[in-house]
């Protein structure tokens, strides 16, 4: 499959001779904001990562927050306390429960370098999910828009009842594929209660051969693919969608307007003063496969 070349030619034909050139530009240093990325899962202990925002073009990592106090609330009652492990990463002790509501409360002590105060998230419900039925690989020959190689598929059934949202993630040899275009979320309105089992609906395609011309069939043998389907809230679905939309802008004619990416965490009770990042609750279901001949 040579989709990349095909699409390049197609786009070039349509846009004649558009071009992108790297340029030097100086961006302003905006207001420093706290970044909180935390979660409660139904199969791992609660965790959070804290850092500060920096200039968008900075070559450094966002500075970590090492001195925060973090509480997690279940149905508005203090439920767990998270401790700092390393580099702004905090871990709790408890595992979440489907159907419960969770929120996070982060306190930063006063200092001359960074803002201080208390940041609180809105409640996130830990939504239901079904286990993944199976994962398998098959060999497919060369065809139009299909490169020869091993393709990985997953069978999974979506719980009946509209209103569920999901996030999909995949790992290759235990490395999360985590570029903005790997962000995948969906609502269930188009497949509510249906099964992706090749009988009702097509199985979910997880992975396939590399697009690179240099990669061979043998290169795929022994690769471990992991796939995860997590239940998420509609609000988290919209948040991830917005991150993808805003990070994949190509400056083109049909780009959506630049928009602030606001999660569900606010400083004190002030809805105007928000932290970056998101606190979510989720029921992830994960499967693995190693490609064999």
């Amino acid at each position: 499959m040579n989709n990349y070349k095909f699409l390049s030619i197609f786009v070039c034909l349509n846009l004649f001779s558009s071009c992108q050139d790297e340029i030097d530009i100086t961006l302003p240093d905006g207001q420093e904001r706290l970044i909180i990325n935390g979660n409660v899962l139904d199969n791992e202990v609660a965790s959070a990562d804290l850092s500060w925002s920096i200039n968008y073009l900075s070559e450094e990592s966002n500075p970590s927050v090492l001195n925060a106090s973090i509480l997690v609330l279940e149905d508005d009652i203090v439920w767990d306390s998270l401790s700092h492990v390393e580099d702004g990463h905090y871990l709790g002790n408890k595992i979440g429960e489907i159907g419960r509501n969770y929120s996070i409360e982060v306190s930063i002590p006063e200092s001359s370098d960074h803002p201080s105060g208390v940041w609180k998230s809105q409640n996130e419900k830990l939504n239901r999910n079904n286990p993944i039925d199976s994962i398998y690989s098959i060999f497919l020959p060369q065809a139009t828009f299909q490169r020869e190689g091993y393709y990985v598929y997953v069978h999974w059934s979506e719980p009946l009842g509209i209103g569920d949202c999901y996030r999909f993630r995949q790992w290759k040899n235990d490395t999360l594929e985590n570029a903005p275009f790997n962000l995948q979320v969906t609502e269930d309105q188009f497949f509510d209660g249906r099964s992706f089992n090749d009988i009702d609906l097509d199985a979910l395609n997880v992975a396939g051969p590399e697009r690179s011309r240099d990669s061979t069939l043998e290169d795929q043998i022994g690769i471990k693919y992991s796939y995860e389907i997590s239940s998420i809230s509609l609000s988290h679905h919209d948040y991830i969608n917005l991150i993808q939309e805003q990070t994949l802008q190509v400056g083109g004619l049909f780009d959506p307007p630049a928009a602030p990416i606001v999660g569900n965490i606010y400083r004190g009770d002030d809805p105007e003063n928000y932290a970056l990042g998101y606190f979510y609750a989720s029921a992830p279901r994960k499967v693995h496969i190693v490609i064999t001949p």
């Binding site: 989709n3 095909f6 699409l7 030619i9 197609f10 034909l13 349509n14 004649f16 001779s17 558009s18 071009c19 992108q20 050139d21 790297e22 340029i23 530009i25 961006l27 302003p28 240093d29 905006g30 207001q31 420093e32 904001r33 970044i35 990325n37 990562d49 850092s51 925002s53 920096i54 968008y56 073009l57 900075s58 070559e59 966002n62 139009t144 828009f145 985590n178 570029a179 188009f190 509510d192 249906r194 609906l201 097509d202 917005l242 991150i243 805003q246 990070t247 802008q249 400056g251 083109g252 004619l253 049909f254 959506p256 630049a258 602030p260 990416i261 606001v262 105007e272 970056l276 998101y278």
Partner: protein, 788 residues
């Protein structure tokens, strides 16, 4: 039926005035000698012992002028036509006088130019109006040599686009959806081929183009910022003729001729692009199974069914189609058709009625293992009736009624699960009246009033929300079901009054001062938060939770003509204030959204500026220099952060450009060679730059707080063209041809369309800034045109 009674009363009252008049009425039509096409805007001057009287032809070539008994002469003149004079030794009764005018070549025009011909811009109350003939449009160098009506309009002051390739155009700070584009009276909802690179109007089928940027006549309404009125050719009623062209992008052919000489004639035009035919050259199998083309057809049939009646049937059909084997398919297109009836009721009365159907739809989908098809469309049925009463030479009165019926089908998806959004229905009736009043020889006022209303009608389920004007999931109160035909909400109050005023004070024979005011109301919106509209954006009407948008515009201008030189100068200043403009919540999801009000915000806008236009219409060197200095801003305030944009502060609109300069010139190098050139300079357009960097689970993302707070650098571009027309000396030669070649963006300037940021492979954390140039190189072209 309720409307018939008041109209009858108006007709009766106005008719009774004519009894008071003692003048003789000369009326008739003015046509082009060679083709029989009606010619609008012909200046008609009566020169008699008691002085001069003035009139002009309307859009259908009809005129009527009141003159005193006795001797005199009637002079028919217009730019580009040989003047014709009719002598009357002793006029005693009303007469019908149909006139045919001969077209002049550019060179002849130079020597025969008279002040009357050039001064139509001085004597008319029309201001903020740009007129282009197909001939003028064809002279302008174009991208790939494709003669493009809209691209040419953007070279005029006050008209701009977001950038190269952007769909639609912006007039004096208005969004692209604020332009009423009508083709033979039929509304067109997407004027672009190839995502915005070309317009759907085939210049060979176009007779003339008129753009109202302000001071709109009362018969136009429904959009805030402009009216682009495009008339298709009627077809040659004298002889069969054809013309066409072969270009790099597309080829076209137009046929016209009489079916019954001087009575029934037709025009047929077609155009198709063919860049997909070159796909096999790339040796990519996937391309061989792909499709990428556009085409359009124009047709018109005219019939003079009696001395007083004429019927026209015109149609347009066009499509863009893209598909990549089973991966995806995507297509869109317009279909319009117009049935029009003109009747000369009496020497003083002219009547025009039309019935119009317009249909814009798009489809996208796939044919793979999970096939699906997504359809969306907007349909219109429009009825118009307009009466023109030439009361006397001081008053020309127009009045009429219109109704536009809308059917919106926002999304219908067939696939694994069939789903659809609810259709919406609406009807927009309007009444209008205007009087073109020549107060004195120096002062002319055109005043009028339009009254429009809108009824959003069922069937439809409507959500109601808690008080406070906040529409989201948490404020939903109830769902109400409306039956078919049941009125959901009506907009029929005094806010629907749209006064129109245009004033012309002639300072001297070659200069005038103009003033205009118009209020317009818009009841449908294009739901799009992209930088530029896409073919898949849907139109939605005002309704339970969406208010009509309004604009008030005032413009003041001066027109000055340099005597006997063919040079015209005009400048206009304008101020527009907008209310209830649609804007979008940050991160709004507009795709497949049933309750679109949950994604929308409402704001205000303002636009102000000065436009300068210097034109040379005659001689070997013709063209214009246009300059606009303008600002366009938006403001969305609300009780909370989610309901505000830019913290409630004014911010520049996407297409706000402070300076916009265009120089357009064509020069006859010799009898056989013509040279054309455009130079365009524009200020950069607004952009939003990130203030800082956030992170979500290892993905860096931009933090934006200042909407459109930055700008791209300025842009400039030069386009050149050469046209060789062999055998121009042989006047009777049937087959005539020309060869055009040139280049767009001659010095290959990489004009920035935007600046954006992207993380580098593999981990996307090394973020760099990039400049996108849509057309970053010189684009040459070669065209062969013919006619016989």
């Amino acid at each position: 039926m309720k409307l018939i009674k008041p109209i009858f009363i108006i007709v009766t009252i106005v008719s009774s005035f004519s009894l008071l008049s003692q003048d003789i009425q000369i009326s008739g039509t003015v046509e082009e000698e060679s083709s029989g096409e009606a010619i609008p805007n012909i200046s008609i001057v009566w020169e008699g012992s008691s002085g001069k009287k003035f009139s002009s032809t309307n859009s259908y070539g009809f005129y009527s002028i009141s003159v005193p008994e006795g001797p005199g002469r009637l002079v028919f003149s217009s730019f580009g036509f040989k003047t014709q004079t009719k002598q009357f030794r002793n006029l005693k009764k009303n007469i019908v006088l149909n006139v045919s005018l001969n077209e002049l070549s550019t060179e002849l025009n130079e020597v025969s130019v008279t002040s009357e011909k050039l001064n139509d811009n001085i004597t008319t109350t029309e201001m903020s109006v740009s007129k282009l003939s197909a001939k003028e449009i064809k002279k302008v160098p174009q991208l790939l040599g494709e003669t493009d009506v809209i691209r040419t309009l953007t070279l005029l002051p006050g008209v701009s686009t977001v950038g190269e390739g952007a769909s639609g155009f912006n007039v004096r700070g208005g969004n692209a959806d604020q332009n009423l584009i009508i083709l033979d009276e039929a509304p067109v909802y997407n004027s672009s081929h190839l995502f915005g690179f070309f317009s759907i109007f085939n210049a060979d089928a176009v007779k003339d183009v008129k753009l109202f940027k302000g001071g709109m006549p009362a018969n136009y309404g429904g959009r805030l910022s402009s009216v682009l009125d495009i008339r298709q050719k009627e077809g040659n009623s004298k002889k069969f003729s054809a013309n066409g062209g072969i270009g790099l992008l597309s080829s076209r052919l137009t046929l016209e001729g009489p079916i019954v000489k001087d009575k029934v004639n037709f025009m047929l035009a077609g155009r198709r692009s063919y860049f997909d035919l070159f796909f096999p050259l790339f040796d990519v199998p996937e391309l061989n199974e792909s499709v990428a083309y556009f085409y359009d057809f124009n047709a018109k049939l005219n019939a003079k069914i009696s001395k007083k009646d004429k019927i026209y049937l015109s149609a347009y059909f066009g499509r863009d189609q893209f598909s990549a084997a089973e991966l995806f398919k995507f297509g869109w297109g317009n279909w319009t058709s117009t049935l029009r009836w003109n009747r000369v009721i009496s020497p003083k009365w002219f009547f025009n009625a039309s019935a119009v159907y317009s249909d814009y739809k798009y489809q996208l989908g796939a044919d793979g293992t999970t096939p699906f098809e997504w359809d969306s469309r907007i349909r219109n049925l429009v009825q118009n009736a307009k009466w023109t009463y030439y009361w006397n030479n001081a008053h020309t009165i127009e009045f009429g009624i219109q109704n536009t019926y809308y059917e919106f089908e926002p999304a219908k998806i067939s696939g694994p699960i069939d789903v659809e959004l609810q259709n919406e229905y609406g009807t927009e009736p309007a009444l209008y009246f205007s009087d073109d009043w020549r107060v004195t020889d120096d002062l002319t006022i055109t005043y009028g009033m339009r009254y429009s209303s809108f009824y959003n009608i069922g069937s439809r389920d409507i959500q109601t929300y808690q008080d406070g004007g906040v529409y989201n999931e948490s404020t939903i109160k109830d769902t109400i079901t409306f039956e078919p035909g049941q009125i959901i909400r009506s907009f029929n109050n005094l806010d629907g009054l749209e006064p129109r005023l245009a004033l012309n004070y002639q300072i001297s024979s070659n200069s005038s001062l103009k003033l205009s005011y118009n209020r317009n109301r818009q009841y449908i919106h294009l739901i799009s938060n992209n930088t530029t509209a896409t073919p898949v954006n849907v139109w939605r009407p005002v309704g339970q939770h969406i208010e009509p948008a309004t604009v008030n515009q005032i413009a003041l201008g001066i027109a000055y003509n340099l005597k006997e030189t063919g040079i015209r100068f005009s400048t206009e200043g304008f101020l527009k204030t907008f209310n209830n403009l649609i804007d979008y919540k940050d991160g709004a999801n507009l795709i497949f959204e049933e309750y679109i009000e949950t994604q929308l915000l409402s704001g205000e806008g303002r636009a102000y500026g000065i436009e300068v236009l210097l034109e040379k219409k005659t001689g070997g060197l013709t063209g214009w220099v246009g300059y606009t200095l303008a600002r366009t801003e938006r403001k969305v305030t609300g009780p909370s952060r989610e309901l505000r944009v830019n913290n409630g502060e004014w911010y520049p609109a996407n297409y706000d450009k402070l300076h916009d300069l265009s120089i357009v010139a064509t020069y006859a190098l010799s009898k056989a060679w013509d040279f054309g050139g455009n130079f365009v300079y524009q200020s950069g357009r607004p952009l939003t730059y990130p203030d800082s960097r956030g992170e979500f689970e290892g993905i860096y993302y931009p933090v934006y707080t200042n909407r459109n707070g930055g700008r791209t650098p300025s842009t400039n571009r030069l386009d050149l063209s050469f046209t060789f027309t062999p055998g121009v000396k042989k006047k009777n030669k049937k087959w005539q041809s020309s060869l055009s070649f040139g280049a767009y963006n001659v010095y290959a300037r990489k004009n920035p369309y935007s600046i954006f940021f992207r993380g580098e492979v593999p981990d996307f954390t090394d973020i760099k800034a990039y400049q996108l140039s849509v057309i970053g190189t010189a684009v040459p072209y070669l065209n062969y045109n013919f006619s016989f």
